[in-house]
Amino acid sequence: MTVGKDGIQKFISDEVSMLIGESDAKIGADTPLIGHNRVLDSADLVVLLLAVEDYARENLGFNWDWTSDSAMSEARSVLRNIGSLADHLMNQQPA
């Protein structure tokens, strides 16, 4: 059974919320993970990626490889914001 975008997005939002110590209310699909207005520093971003990697493996059924030449690109990265990361993970799920 595949997990829907809302479920994935909630997981990411909860993790981000925990890392920055803010309530979920301020965290949403448009919350940037990289770039000028990012809410995480690079160390917390790495912690988030590790948590997402575990989540993908345990809940989504695949091994997520986050290495990418555009990983830190504000325009192209799947890490642009929480919503883009959730979309990416949802599409990676095995059918």
């Binding site: 690079s42 160390a43 790495v46 912690v47 590790l50 575990d54 290495t67």
Partner: protein, 230 residues
């Protein structure tokens, strides 16, 4: 040190890697030695992989990515080829860079997540006194090791928030397989340019490895330690 701490040592079948792996095993660490060819006589666990091949490394060590017992990585795998730049075949250039520099980077990429999950760790890379001494006939080897030093300094910044230190040990010539074909007079010439004009032995390197693994070294990161001085 917890008695469950794991140390991964590359180049563990010979040379400094072998010395490090043996010594750390004797000190009670769980040692996982990595080498291109697995030797049956090692008292520690040995896994076979080519450090310059990401796929081979992932197969050999993939299970450790989430293993919080992984405390340290000692990147001792290395190759050298004394030759003039203009007479070195391109294939040899690529092999030296791939093993010494790319291999170090790939190992760090693979093992760092386990240390980040754990919240601390130690990464020890290897360079050479040849970098500051600019030894003739070792330009490509020195290029690969200068790359290791630069990489280690910058990577140390990335790992610092996670409690992981990254340092480089740069020994002069030590009697191991790496320099067995180098003429004695050339070794003596290098030693004479060290601050301490005495050839180091593996134990001198092990002392620095021990220091860098110890809790007392928690404020040392991004450094290159020259064994013998340069």
């Amino acid at each position: 040190m917890s008695d469950k701490d794991t140390v991964i040592v590359t180049g563990a079948s010979r040379g400094l890697g072998r010395h490090c792996a043996m010594a750390l095993h004797e000190r009670g660490y769980r040692v996982i030695g990595l080498s291109r060819t697995s030797k049956g006589d090692a008292p520690f666990e040995v896994r076979s992989a080519d450090v310059s091949d990401a796929k081979s490394l992932s197969t050999a060590l993939g299970d450790l990515k989430r293993d919080k017992s992984v405390f340290a990585l000692v990147n001792a795998a290395g190759i050298a080829s004394m030759n003039l730049v203009i007479t070195t075949p391109p294939e040899t250039v690529a092999k030296i860079i791939n093993t010494n520099l790319i291999g170090t980077i790939l190992m760090c990429q693979l093992v760092a997540p386990a240390m980040i999950r754990r919240g601390n760790g130690r990464i020890i890379n290897f360079s050479t006194l040849g970098v500051p001494l600019a030894i003739k006939g070792e330009a490509i080897y020195i290029a690969s090791k200068a790359g290791v030093e630069g990489f280690s300094r910058a990577f140390a910044r990335e790992m610092s928030p996670h409690g992981v230190t990254v340092n480089t040990i740069a020994p002069g010539p030590i009697d191991t397989a790496l320099i067995e074909k180098v003429p004695r007079d050339k070794i003596d010439a290098v030693v004479s340019r060290q601050i301490i004009e005495k050839q180091a032995v593996p134990g001198d390197v092990l002392n620095i490895v021990s220091l860098l693994l110890s809790p007392e070294s928690s404020m040392i990161s991004g450094e290159t330690i020259h064994v013998g001085g340069a």
